[in-house]
């Protein structure tokens, strides 16, 4: 079936991400806290806790530092949502990556907008995070094109073999930078999720109430989109079985992230930047050479 010349599934994907995305993201965040607590021998909060936190923040007194900050946070949310919608519509992967990066830049601007030394330090660190993961993400796009001849997520999802068949090392590299993208230990340099004491609170120091709630919401969207990227590697043929496999792979990776988060101490930013670039160079490079010769 077609609508305006596009497959109806594109619209379903977009709508599903817009509506179901934050719900799934919220549940994943709750599960993260619950599992982390379990790994630390605690009972932990309810799975719904992130939702309660969100509603509480939404009802707090309004005390925005300046109007620009709110605008940037809104733009961060909007571009993350657009990037995710582009991805789940099965559109161009490169487009998704670039919109997502634009969103990330708006978060950094929001950090700088407050002029608070803590938030500025957090923003600087967030820039280092972006610098660390960006090369690998671009290599994912390049590898994707070399392996399948297209940037269209749709064609990758309906290809004969899952993309991981051609890009095993690039997949491993993406796993490495996923920890940086999700800001999980050992790469929670710009804003710690669990310790909550990171030079006050990194980039979100000056965000409060509704603004902070919006940042949380964007994180939920982000998480779902990144796990979508992971699932893309394991999807083929467009069938239901393949879709289930892709979801299972994405959830397994999510679990792996939580295990990593709980077992590693934070590294210095130099170590993060260097290691991420080396990983991109070595894993990405070998994989691309392999693609050239196959």
């Amino acid at each position: 079936m077609e609508l305006f010349g596009y497959s109806i599934w594109s619209f379903v994907g977009m709508a599903a991400f817009l509506v179901v995305g934050p719900i799934v993201g919220c549940l994943l965040a709750g599960l993260d806290r619950k599992l982390s607590a379990g790994m630390q021998g605690r009972v932990g909060p309810r799975i719904r806790q992130p939702w309660w936190d969100f509603r509480k923040l939404w009802g707090k007194e309004d005390a925005t530092v300046n109007g620009a900050q709110d605008l940037y946070v809104w733009l961060y949310l909007i571009f993350i949502v657009l990037a995710g919608m582009a991805f789940f519509a099965g559109a161009n992967f490169l487009l998704c990556v670039f919109i997502q990066t634009l969103g990330a830049l708006f978060l950094i601007l929001a950090g700088y907008a407050s002029r608070s030394p803590y938030a500025e330090l957090g923003a600087q660190r967030e820039i280092v995070q972006v610098m660390s993961y960006e090369p690998m993400v671009l290599l994912v796009a390049i590898g994707m094109f070399m392996a399948t001849g297209t940037f269209e997520v749709n064609s990758v999802l309906t290809a004969d073999v899952p993309m991981i068949r051609w890009l095993p090392l690039i997949f491993a590299g993406l796993l490495y930078v996923l920890t940086i993208k999700l800001r999980k230990s050992p790469f929670d340099i710009s804003m710690a999720q669990h310790a909550h004491q990171e030079i006050v609170r990194g980039i979100v120091t000056e965000f409060s109430g509704k603004t902070l709630a919006l940042v949380e919401l964007s994180h939920w969207y982000e998480t779902v989109m990144f796990l979508g990227w992971i699932g893309m590697f394991a999807m083929w043929g467009g069938g239901w079985v393949a879709a289930v496999v892709a979801v299972v792979v994405a959830l397994a990776v999510w679990f792996l992230e939580i295990v990593i988060d709980n077992n590693f101490a934070r590294v210095k930013w130099q170590a993060m930047l260097k290691s991420a670039w080396w990983v991109a160079l070595i894993l990405g490079g070998i994989n691309i050479v392999y693609l050239i010769f196959v």
Binding site: R33, A37, Q40, G41, R42, V43, G44, P45, R46, Q49, W52, D53, R55, K56, W58, G59, K60, E61, A63, H196, Q197, E198, V200, R201, T205, E206, F207, S208, G209, L212
Partner: protein
């Protein structure tokens, strides 16, 4: 029930004194007591916090800091004074620099927790009791957003509830002791 009662984020400030209560507050977050069960998150940022936990004595040097943290917190917010020192100077009450009224010399206190040092159980008790107050304030705020229920003006008299009577706390509440 509003949502503030389900996600009380705390900020913790330790004044002077022996640090015993400071350790107990942290103990409340360890696996044995696990305050996160109730949605409690220990944040280092006043702007994110709903409950201000003060431990240790208040003196001339840290009074402005306590005031500053309190002012930066957003409504609805409550203050919990934990331990004899925070409630009223405790064993250090007669020191020349310690404010013998404790925390309420600087900011309005909503709940007092007795003990030297406080038990983690009582801290959790106080936080859970404080949640009701948060609830009340949140409702007031909803009804009349302009009236933020800022009680700065009556600092020292804004005692709305107490987990234990101030007079039960050894060395606390006896403003006329000197």
């Amino acid at each position: 029930m509003s949502y503030v009662s389900k996600s009380p984020w705390v900020i913790h400030y330790d004044g002077s004194s022996c640090n015993g209560c400071d350790i107990e507050v942290l103990a409340a977050l360890t696996p044995l007591y696990d305050a996160e069960r109730f949605g409690v998150v220990n944040t280092g940022n006043p702007k994110h916090a709903d409950i201000f936990i003060v431990t240790g004595g208040v003196n001339a040097q840290n009074a402005p800091i306590i005031k500053q943290i309190y002012d930066q917190m957003l409504e609805p917010k409550i203050v919990v004074a934990c331990g004899a020192c925070a409630c009223g100077g405790g064993v250090y009450q007669s020191c020349y620099n310690v404010m013998h009224e404790g925390t309420r010399a600087v900011i309005p206190v909503d709940a007092y927790v007795p003990g030297c040092a406080v038990k983690p159980e009582s801290i959790i008790d106080a936080v859970v009791a404080g949640i009701d107050l948060l609830e009340e304030k949140a409702k007031k705020m909803k009804k009349n957003p302009a009236d933020k229920d800022r009680t700065d003006a009556d600092a020292g008299h804004g005692v709305h509830a107490s987990v234990a009577n101030v007079d039960d706390v050894p060395g606390a509440g006896s403003a006329d002791v000197r």
